[in-house]
């Protein structure tokens, strides 16, 4: 059977688990934020900054950023290996797929670093 080098977990079970766990993190975060925004009343920049600057939220935001990056990678990796194959691109498929995956990976690394700087850099 096939174990591709570009898969995150290098293993279907881990990819599958990463996808589920990251989804749960994103889901819980969204529900929590929704609840916060609905109950927080009048929100000004200072209170928002204080809220986001708390160590709990810094950890939560870090988890979120990592989860989104992992989730996106696993999902888009699946999309590229479904659609960017020899069925559509013939012999060029490997090249096309590699370029797409590198582009996605670069974007995610930038996003991840930028996110972490935003979260931790302001403190």
């Amino acid at each position: 059977m096939v174990t591709p080098v570009t898969s995150l977990g290098r293993n279907g079970l881990y990819d599958w688990l990463i996808q589920r766990v990251s989804a749960v993190i994103i889901g819980v975060y969204l529900i929590f934020m929704l609840g916060y925004l609905m109950t927080a009343g009048d929100l000004d920049f200072a209170s928002w900054k204080a809220f986001m600057g708390s160590i709990c939220m810094q950890i939560a935001n870090t988890l979120l950023v990592i989860a989104v990056a992992a989730h996106t990678w696993v999902g888009l990796w699946g999309v590229t290996t479904d659609y960017l194959t020899s069925l559509t691109f013939g012999k060029a498929a490997t090249g096309v797929r590699l370029i797409a995956q590198v582009a996605i990976a670069l974007a995610l690394v930038v996003y991840l670093l930028w996110g972490l700087v935003l979260i931790w850099g302001g403190a």
């Binding site: 059977m1 096939v2 174990t3 599958w16 699946g78 479904d82 659609y83 194959t85 069925l87």
Partner: protein
């Protein structure tokens, strides 16, 4: 009634085309396979597979008005509303996603390859007893809904994941058979079987679309079987 059939003969046709036929069913709700026999009387060059004509051999899987199924156990009235009454044509195409050899006959090679990959045979390295290996009715019940597969390929060829990766994703039919042996109390190659399934493609390309369940002419549920294997992998991997 009108019948529209996908025709392609690699010797004479550069590309496939749909050909129209007029068939007299005398108002009867015939099976689609009966219609094909009537068409073949008019035009003997039409190629399709058939054998048992009662839905147990799995030869005549095809796409009927957009849905995969067995021609021999699909009455006109079930194909689509209006087909029996002649208001709409019966549209027959080969199973999607596999190379066409001729007309409604597809090359099933990739499908069978995936079946063979799951080692679809009982493995037990303990010496066989002088009689049968005992199995309780409860243990035996675990392979109900699995062993009945007829390898018609209706499921795998309706599965988008199989369309995109027919060489890497095993497809619902092969995975159903994989679980048939994982679930058999007489088989003890569980670890070896599971170790071959935990790459990102073989099993995990199943996204639970469930086309396989909706087309299976034997009413089997490959998605559920895949779920069971995933649980076994999870238990083993964590």
């Amino acid at each position: 009634m009108k019948v529209s059939i996908y025709r392609y003969n690699p010797e004479t046709d550069r590309e496939p085309s749909m050909k129209e036929y007029e068939v007299d069913t005398q108002g009867k709700d015939l099976m689609v396979l009966d219609i094909l026999a009537l068409v073949k009387e008019q035009d003997q060059s039409l190629a399709y597979r058939r054998s048992c004509r009662e839905g147990v051999c799995g030869s005549d899987g095809m796409n009927m008005n957009g849905k995969n199924g067995l021609a021999c156990i699909t009455p006109l009235s079930q194909v689509a509303p209006g087909v029996l009454e002649g208001k709409k044509p019966l549209i027959l195409r080969p199973l999607p996603g596999l190379p066409v050899i001729r007309d409604l006959v597809v090359d099933m090679g990739m499908f069978y390859n995936q079946y063979e990959k799951v080692q679809p045979y009982l493995q037990n390295n303990t010496p066989a007893p002088a009689i049968e290996r005992l199995q309780s009715p409860e243990e035996r019940a675990k392979i109900d809904g699995l062993y009945e597969c007829i390898l018609c390929a209706c499921c795998s060829t309706s599965c988008p994941s199989f369309w995109w990766n027919p060489d890497k994703f095993l497809g619902p039919a092969a995975l159903l058979q994989s679980y048939r042996f994982l679930a058999d109390s007489r088989d003890n190659a569980t670890e070896e079987r599971l170790s071959k399934l935990d790459d990102p493609f073989s099993l995990f390309r199943c996204h639970g679309i469930m086309n396989c369940v909706s087309v299976c002419p034997k009413g089997l549920n490959p998605t559920r079987a895949i779920g069971h294997i995933r649980s076994m992998l999870l238990e083993r991997g964590i």
